[in-house]
């Protein structure tokens, strides 16, 4: 293996963060499996429950997270180029757009609870509330991580250490997207055969 190949194959961020990301993805893979097994056993219930979710909100959430991630990519590029203003501006935009996901999710949860639908309503909604709830927790942690990145970008030198930091945070933030991109079709769109 040439040195160039090793360099090209480098994982962004700290390799250790990838252990967290892989472990987390495994946990969600298990969640998706549980959902699929439940759905095979009771397709009618899952279909009836699914129709109570609003796919437009789901789509909006997807777009919010993807846009936020796009700003994150630009922030990482800014850090690599050593442009402090690009980093702070894009990080702030990533957080501001991303926060929209939180607002939308709170509305969605309160609406469901207002209709008397909770995680104890049926198996579909148990999975809906728990999986999106755990995802929501990941989202909140992501926002906190971005806030730390932003604070560091304002005062610390934009050196290799900072680039590792922001890359690792970016990888985590993209994982939050990725999980939502799996959750959205599974919960909102998947039709009964």
């Amino acid at each position: 293996v040439t040195q160039a190949a090793v360099k090209a194959a480098r994982l962004p961020g700290d390799p250790g963060v990838w252990i967290f990301i892989i472990a987390d993805c495994c946990a969600f893979a298990l969640f998706f499996l549980l959902f699929t097994i439940g759905r095979i056993g009771n397709p009618d219930l899952y279909e009836r429950s699914r129709l109570l979710l609003d796919p437009t909100t789901g789509l909006l959430n997807t777009l919010i997270l993807l846009t936020s991630s796009w700003f994150m990519v630009r922030a990482v590029e800014g850090a690599r180029a050593g442009e402090r203003s690009a980093v702070t501006r894009n990080l702030a935009l990533s957080m501001a757009v991303g926060a929209g996901f939180g607002v939308s999710k709170i509305f969605e949860y309160s609406h469901k609870i207002g209709l008397g639908i909770t995680m104890l309503t049926n198996e579909f909604f148990t999975y809906y509330f728990i999986f999106t709830g755990i995802h929501f927790l990941h989202f909140l942690i992501g926002l906190a991580v971005l806030a730390v990145c932003l604070a560091k970008a304002r005062q610390d030198p934009l050196d290799a250490r900072y680039v590792t930091w922001i890359e690792a945070s970016g990888c985590y933030w993209h994982m939050v997207d990725l999980l939502w991109i799996m959750l959205f079709p599974m919960l909102y769109l998947l039709r009964a055969v």
Binding site: G16, V17, F20
Partner: protein, 238 residues
Amino acid sequence: VHEQKEYGIWRFCAWMGPLFAAVFIYFWGWLGHNFPPFQPDVPASDVAAYFRGNANSVRLGMVMAMTFAPCYGVWGYSIAKVLERVVGKDSILVQLARVGAAWTVITVLIPTSFWLTAAFRPEALPDWQIQMLYDMAWLLIDLAYAVTSVQMFAMGVGFLRDKRAVPLFPKWLSWYGIWVGFMFIAECIMPFFRSGAFARSGILNFWIEFLIWLVWIPTVTFYVLKATRRLEAEDAAG
């Protein structure tokens, strides 16, 4: 000579972790019918019948689990000694890692005493009371997760600060520990379910949660022993 003796004690303390895990699995888990536990929706009479029919096994199981519970804390102190070499003796992270391990001992000691109470005179207790003690113990041992998370987060953050070219404690294991401490949050939903994946006996709230913790203990021990050998060699080299 004095230092060498200390490292020996570190190693002895580090071995207390796997010892705790082994005793916990066999005595608390197997003899106490906790590995896996009764599903919460089984009738009280089933739980009561087990406690009456196997009172001596459960008593022995809980007595041993209580006796060896402090091993977890002793193990945590050996980890903290290695952590001191990364972040310094006075670091709050060392103190939190230590206290997280010590508190975890309490979260084992108290619920095991409830199971022991249920097995003490099961013939005189009504079925529902045995079930209640069994439930109470499970609710406590699961919901006390955050105490252990303190240890995991403190160790994780502390060891990640290692500036050595080859860190004393691998970074991936720090991240894994942080992830486990975080995953424990799933225990919060356990009281809402009596069957399925999120019940105390379910795939997530029992199998995954206990497995990721029980795998972490010997893995951490392996690397603490390795770090101890390294520190000892560094000291010997002056």
